[in-house]
Symmetry: C2
Subunit: 416 residues, 2 copies
Amino acid sequence: MDLNLDLDRNVPVLDWEPHLSSRTAGMGSSAIRELLKLTQQPDIISFAGGLPAPDFFPLREVEEACRYIVREDGRQALQYSATEGHGPLKEYLAESMRGYGVPAKAHNVLLTNGSQQALDLIGKIFIDPGDYVLTSRPTYLGAIQAWNAYEARYHTVRLDDDGMVADEIEHAYQKALDDSGRPPKFIYVLPNFHNPAGTTLVQERREQLAEVATELSLPVVEDDPYGQLRYEGEDLPPICTYVPERTIYLGTFSKILAPGLRLGWIVCPEILMGRFVQAKQGADLHTGTFVQYVANDICQRGFLKQHVKELREVYKVRRDTMLDALTEFWPDVCSWTRPQGGLFLWAQVPQAIDTRDLLEQALEEKVAYVPGVPFYPNEDGGYDAMRLNFSYSSPETIVEGIRRLGRALKKALDQV
Amino acid sequence: MDLNLDLDRNVPVLDWEPHLSSRTAGMGSSAIRELLKLTQQPDIISFAGGLPAPDFFPLREVEEACRYIVREDGRQALQYSATEGHGPLKEYLAESMRGYGVPAKAHNVLLTNGSQQALDLIGKIFIDPGDYVLTSRPTYLGAIQAWNAYEARYHTVRLDDDGMVADEIEHAYQKALDDSGRPPKFIYVLPNFHNPAGTTLVQERREQLAEVATELSLPVVEDDPYGQLRYEGEDLPPICTYVPERTIYLGTFSKILAPGLRLGWIVCPEILMGRFVQAKQGADLHTGTFVQYVANDICQRGFLKQHVKELREVYKVRRDTMLDALTEFWPDVCSWTRPQGGLFLWAQVPQAIDTRDLLEQALEEKVAYVPGVPFYPNEDGGYDAMRLNFSYSSPETIVEGIRRLGRALKKALDQV
């Protein structure tokens, strides 16, 4: 082929704005995200990401599973496959979920590219422009990002140490109804070890939430990426135990196996499955066949149960280390949540400090976190808060990072 | 944990319809898709799917790459990663694309979950409800499915043996403008070995298309999944060679490596990349890290070039076998395209036969294809046409399948 092209010639720059959909207006990249790119510098201790500890990825098991799968099922594992997901993996997940209180059968499980895709598909099949979603304040950043792309609006309820304040749901519902003339599309709940707040919804509130949802005829999206990472106390029943007919439950391998596989799942009422399958087909045909086969092989060998036990021990130590370091190195005027599991805690600083400004000082001290504001869908709070991740860094690094953050905080307080 | 749950109790069934978004109305599953599920029965010869030949998946290379990656880069390959994609793979793709005439640099390449996700992201950032897309009739079914979810409408231009009739674009543009009061959002083109038609856009028409797009200020989506699978003739310059500033080019590993990895890519003007990254972040954070590392390892070893050469030889034989069998076993009143590459040809039967009805008779003869109608976005044609895939079945199976289809056709003609 001799195309004789001059690819380095000056290409005119087109103005794409008039061609874009109106939903792109809500999809802006945040200044904070830009700032957080700095946290990838190797000398910065980052509590910003939601990353699992890479030292505990099961490398040997992944290698063995890959070899086994290529040799035994290579031609199927590399081919196109069903939109719903790999049959044996759906069976495994359904059984595993049932043991955990989620009323799942293989035919109401759908594999997704991580839980983030589940959030996107939910947006696609539920949200019309201007529709309201009810959620806690703060709430998961990625959910806001997924649903802003469908032009969602939000009314929020308060969160305290016992999780989302279920008493406030009806009021938020009413506001959504008043503002848009139609009921909100669903309520979004992170019951276990909330991202970003670290709190757990107590059982009484779960029951209350299920009752209110039923009264208001409100679907529930139950996002549970960390449920199996509990470091103390007893498992609580998932909300879908109480209201399976109206709950879409989301799970993921990202925190218990490896996020780089991009594997999550939806458990939803059977009647809804066809909608999710249609949306998923249009979005990417199906989740990667190969990674599903690999994950299934690892699961079927019974490895995951033991692995999760190890992760619980590792992360419990890191959580405790962070809590102790906060007590030791931070000014008394600060406070923080004490999560029973998961990856994050939520810290509160004096109101005179804006954590977005503090981040620049923190980066000077070579330590990073995520400021609270982006977790408020209406940007009406979180100025004096931050999310801290304790799963990624080693205990020694956690101590040093919290010490540095304490130093930045004290400097900021001196300047107030 | 003792949840004391009765998961088998009768769960009430919720009416989800009032909760769904209005876009779900356009996302219905087709009757044909249901019919095609039958084609997975082992005794049916299926020309329906778009599946590559699994006997030629590079199993040894995938196994070796998996082992190498887990051992050398395991902790990175299993972790979260950049939304844009894996740096070295972007570099490889950019260089490889440049050699093929696509003006790519690593920073304007974005990895996607197969090309289907690229189509979805394009829908997300361009299409508002009621917007028009211009395309050929017939056109790729998956694109219609992706964009129907964004409530797109379509105006189409005719396709002949030289590909899309560029002369008709301005007229379609004008109709879209008249119907919606705004210009169509882009023109969608499959220049090489069109799915479903098998035709190739000749060079003169490529130039003409680029000129018309420039005159009308119209973006171009150039979908090129089969471009490297050419069995005769010379490569033609991609459309983005002529109008790089307005072209979004889509490529994929599905047909040259393995579809089960779910790996495709977008090459787009740098100014647009931020939009795609935002949309991709909300959709699923990033494409699987592990499969990107594996594909990159296979690419960097230089394996792909040799592999594609082998695939070309294999598929050329299958194409020729199908063309010969059609001549031998089909009634003279039928006709078909003669593709220079790709996976599909398009066959025309007498107008008295509706290929949707014929499919039932074909399934009785244990052979399957996709009827033409679903490839017409406005369902205004294709009644007397079908798409036949020649990549999946062995030459012997192709002969037998075409013989069976010929029998079904003759029976149907006898009944007319």
